[in-house]
Amino acid sequence: MSEAVSALKGASFDGIVTVEEMGLQGMITLRGDLASPEMKKAVKDATGLNVPEQGHIAGEGGNWVAWMSPDELLLIVAYESVSDTEASLRDALSKVHHLAVNVSDTRAMFRLSGNGALVREAIAKLCPVDMRTEAFAPGQFRRSRMAQVPAAIWMPDESSVQVVCFRSVAEYAFNLLKGAAAPGSEVSLFS
């Protein structure tokens, strides 16, 4: 019986938006030639998803493929199935130069949900990213910084944002997000 625990064990906070740590996620860093047929097929077989365009993320629910850099993807799958996914990738890519490594425990993931405009505002307090609807929409994936730590964000839908950061700074990130969601701190720009 696994006792694996995420950094904050699913902590949550209700402010002008709701902030939750999402618990353990299966994550794989996959590096290789993203344009190669082997890679496309391997990703499709392992996740059912296509390799996303530059700056984008494909998927829904708990199953995602994110474009990290010209030679790197982040695959997000159920925590329990990460070794199967890894094995599937390893088999499919055995002939080509690549790197697939389990990074599930390297990271923490948060969800901000509620009023879409306020969710965008909370992020805009911390990340130097244009969060206007015309600049950032569901389907896009943005790596940046959140205050003083690296973070990646995307919007699964118009009323939520997911944030990935390193596990060791999960508490810092949570505190930041709580502050950004503090009652009374509405900026009322996007709404």
């Binding site: 530059q54 010209p70 910084r145």
Partner: protein, 109 residues
């Protein structure tokens, strides 16, 4: 507070996502090279007032290195381009020539 466009991921972002890496297009001199060459490689800088070519890393982003052509006096960015090259690409040089006729930088002009 500069803005730069990372040619590797296409993101235009403020300077805090990036990390400057100094002069670009420096040729490495290893064992067997002369003292002068090695010194030139590691320490001598052009440090121009004007057109400059430099290295940047999109550290809080895609993590990739790239090159930028920039004016150190006005901070105008003429363009960014791949780090996997030993000299500035022609289109960048043309852009600079249009704005700074007669420019030169090290062996390039």
């Amino acid at each position: 507070m500069l803005i730069l466009t990372c040619p590797c991921c296409g993101v235009t972002a403020e300077e805090t996502e990036f990390h400057g890496g100094g002069e670009a297009h420096i040729k490495r001199f290893g064992p067997g090279s002369s003292d002068e060459d090695f010194h030139g490689y590691l320490f001598e800088k052009v440090n121009p007032k004007g057109v400059h070519f430099e290295r940047w890393r999109h550290a809080n982003g895609c993590g990739k290195w790239f090159h930028a052509a920039r004016c150190t006096v006005t901070l105008e960015v003429f363009g960014t381009y791949s780090a996997q090259t030993t000299e500035p690409p022609q289109d960048i040089k043309d852009k600079i020539s249009a704005k700074r006729p007669g420019w030169s930088w090290r062996e390039f002009a």
